[in-house]
Assembly symmetry: C3
Homo-oligomer: 395 residues x 3
């Protein structure tokens, strides 16, 4: 039975470095730990499908701090928290006293007296989002060490300037299920490609998350973008190192066609050039509206040169048997649907639409698995208990 097989794998893996640890960057986690998250997520999904409750918390709050708009991630986090028995409480900064000069350290403790998790999305400012999460973590460490907090709430990175681990891990689970196993991903070519979008300033966290994670799977990871659309150098280095260790490869090309050629998987998605994001961060911090508008104009003018970076049927023909798996974190800029000219043609998107929905559908379980592995040193024991007790989710 699928359930027992997963339980066995989780038990045998003995991956307990997730216990009591924040989940901030996939490359801070061992392969074993990542596999553990995938298996717990899969098991929680299975349990829900057969109406077995995963409610391990009888009470408790899961705090969210969203410093940028979000539907999907917000609902994924709420769903994960609710699945385990936690109630979502959003820290709306406009409503709160953070805006009034209160120090972060204090606020973090004030909202955490009865909280089990803090989920944070902060991808607006290059160099700031992940740093902010670590500051929150230090505040929580301090509060717990000093006896202010009864336990140390875990932090889940719901997207920062560097990584988007709940997305990349959901993507990986999708790939695992699509190709049958993680083993099967070895040697597969994935094209993480820039694509044209009429909007500007899209975060770098998705492509960075993908190259930072997929290079660990022994995959041939090709990053494609026009000249000048590079990612954060540190993450590039990590991807290179990862590929060496995993026996995969990592290279950068400046033609979409090169990336698509013979690819097993394509992930065409727009992002802002690293350097533009740096300038934007400075302007945002100075609240220089005029400068921001000028930068946007420049960036859009520059983007417009690359409208042919477009994932259409012709491009897809270049891929392995013309049948590469198309991936996207959604929402995609679909030409003729959500915009005049965008990242992907309507026919290609429609062909893979349901696949992208399923890809997204793993996210709530990935988040729940991250929470679960943070809370339990031996997650298999608790999972076993839940399964043998078999309380129904719906009576």
């Amino acid at each position: 039975m699928m359930i027992n097989k997963l339980l066995k794998k989780i038990e045998n893996r003995q991956a307990n470095q997730l216990y009591s640890k924040d989940f901030l960057l996939t490359w801070e986690k061992s392969l074993k730990d990542l596999e553990q998250v995938l298996d717990i997520a899969q098991l929680l999904k299975l349990m829900r499908e057969i109406n077995i409750s995963s409610k391990v918390f009888n009470s408790g709050l899961a705090i969210s701090i969203f410093r940028d708009n979000s539907t999907r991630t917000r609902f994924s986090y709420a769903s994960a928290a609710n699945l385990l028995g936690l109630e979502l409480q959003d820290l709306e900064e406009s409503k709160s006293q953070i805006a009034h000069g209160e120090t972060l350290r204090e606020t973090v403790n004030m909202i955490s007296f009865l909280s089990d998790f803090v989920g944070i999305r902060d991808d607006m400012y290059l160099g700031a989002g992940n740093t902010y999460m670590r500051e929150v973590g230090e505040a929580l460490d301090d509060g717990y060490a000093q006896g202010v907090l009864p336990h140390r709430p875990g932090i889940i990175n719901l997207q920062c300037d560097i990584d988007h681990p709940t997305q990349s891990m959901a993507d990986l689970l999708h790939l695992k299920n699509h190709f049958g196993s993680l083993e099967a991903l070895k040697g597969k070519k994935i094209a993480m490609s820039w694509a044209y979008s009429p909007s500007y300033g899209k975060p770098l966290s998705v492509p960075q998350g993908i190259i930072g994670l997929m290079t660990r799977m022994g995959m041939d990871v090709v990053l494609a973008h026009p000249e000048g659309y590079g990612l954060i150098p540190d993450v590039m280095e990590i991807a290179e190192k990862n590929a060496k260790i995993s026996g995969g490869s990592f290279k950068v090309v400046h033609q979409m066609d090169d990336a698509f050629k013979n690819a097993d998987i394509v992930y065409p998605k727009s992002w802002a050039p690293y350097q533009i994001m740096e300038q934007r961060t400075v302007l945002l911090q100075k609240d220089d509206q005029e400068g921001l508008q000028k930068l946007e104009q420049e960036a859009l003018t520059n983007n417009a040169k690359y409208q042919d970076w477009h994932c259409d049927a012709q491009k897809m023909k270049l891929t392995k048997n013309g049948e590469a798996l198309y991936m996207h974190c959604l929402p995609a800029d679909i030409s003729g649907v959500s915009c005049e000219k965008g990242e992907v043609s309507a026919d290609v998107f429609e062909k893979y639409r349901i696949e992208t929905y399923k890809e997204a559908g793993y996210k709530p379980y990935i988040i729940a698995a991250m929470m679960f592995a943070n809370k339990y040193k031996n997650p298999e024991k608790t999972l076993q208990k839940l399964i043998s007790k078999a309380s129904f989710r719906v009576l």
Copy 2:
């Protein structure tokens, strides 16, 4: 015992067409199904009063989408969801990425991975609200059929441009309890009457909901309004047809007095003329602020001609023994209280104030009953289980 009697009725009725179906319009439901909802609502109310838990969901989300302001309906929906064990998650469109051109179909799936219900209020645009709900339904059908969603979340219409089924069903339960039975409603005269209000653009869904539902009860339904304040023609036809089938009657008069004469029940309430709502919809869609202001002025000037459409003590004297039951969905425009001159005089409203509160108090249970009947093919079995287990709501 009341509880067993209700359980027996629910079991014997064998009304299982509610199972797995959205609740969008009362006239899409059989009489048997509507009676089932009333009895389940009554039973859930009774259970709560004697401290028996109705919590059938151990986890799960109830999503709400409110495209118009709302206090009562929001709290009714939250209360219903909570009563059954679901956590409310509001999709705030301003916060979400819907505003950024994302297609409805996609969003609906993205927020529904772990959701059991979607409650929608959308009564701003004539021709749009109910249509929107059906689009959401199709997106959910598609997601479920394609294996994206583990089950098909049910949709509850929390008010649209056509019907307001949770209101009209709460009204019906109130009438049933007031007059003793549904049987007792046969031949009773109900006056659904337009009344003057200093505000403009009130939705048509309440009067339409009332004439669409009460005509099925064998009642003599009289719709009264000044010339030019008609309702959607389709709903008028439905009311006529319903009356023929049920052995009741449906007629339209243009004098408030005619409607009130010998009425058993009066429901005086303002609404905007159908034609005005149509013009308004076009202007809203074009965001034509000047046009909207002009239309508002015209409409208010027109309304002002009918200030004598006012439910006061003199009008109430015309009713059956001067003692008709006054109804309102609340909040009412009370003359000298919430406005200078409104729908109802302060003395009449005060006499029936508590009755209108009780009328409103059925709504959370009606919503919970709609959810319950959607989730269980044989609701009596689950209700029986809850009652025999008798977990306390409060320890």
Copy 3:
């Protein structure tokens, strides 16, 4: 064992005047009742620390009405509700129909059909906040008496113009634990002192709450403020009366040094003068923006004269052995940290920072205890049941 000792105390105290009563002002409660709240809070905190569930509600809503910004109190209330099993539902007045002239009485009933508590913060308008809470209470009384509501939801004052009972009670629990017992507080000198702040219009509820409560503990309460920064006269009278009864003392001084001299506890905090708050209330009600700005300028200019009302190391040296306990409701205006010049120097604040966090950490449990004592006539019985059943909070 600590738990049994607390249970015994709660049982023996026989303090049942909290049952079914709103918690609006500490001075409306008997000493016995206040001690009961402290002990229940302590027990709930202890239970959570050893993973025993306090979930007594299987479903139910805790409504919050925040008429002013709030992070801490919002999260404290949410945490308390969640600890006992209630789901928070915020009545956002901007979203609701209150703004549309709906009467308070009606709204209160409409949102309370399935609610167990209403927590209200309303400290903006002098003479209005506490009055508003009592109006809500009357509406609930009426609704319950008339059969509209199945039970009478309790009201928790989350800060009003007169008192801030959840804060002062959390402060008292902190003092009790710091000094070992309530008995140990007798004869201790507490300096509730005004302090300089660059902001304006801070509410009076904290200093009023402190002098109204601590004078009942047999403490020597010294209120210090510059001339013209007086509190509401009624509360001053209450403090004097309390001191006489408790065998403590209450006096007012106009030098910070006098207050700090030999103090066991200091509570330096800014507030607006009573008379300024009165003028401000009138201007706010007239929405006189120009008048408000003028008043603010005057007030700030006036404040600026008292920049030496600053809690620094030198001032602390005046206190008992130079080691008085520093208290603050947070956030404090910390000189050189959250503002250029504020209530407290950075070194003094840092020394006591963790203490102030712990002080704040009692608030969720104080609120939960107020709810608990409102719901149960014999709270010890339910607490005993929870403890012997020992359901885990986290599996």
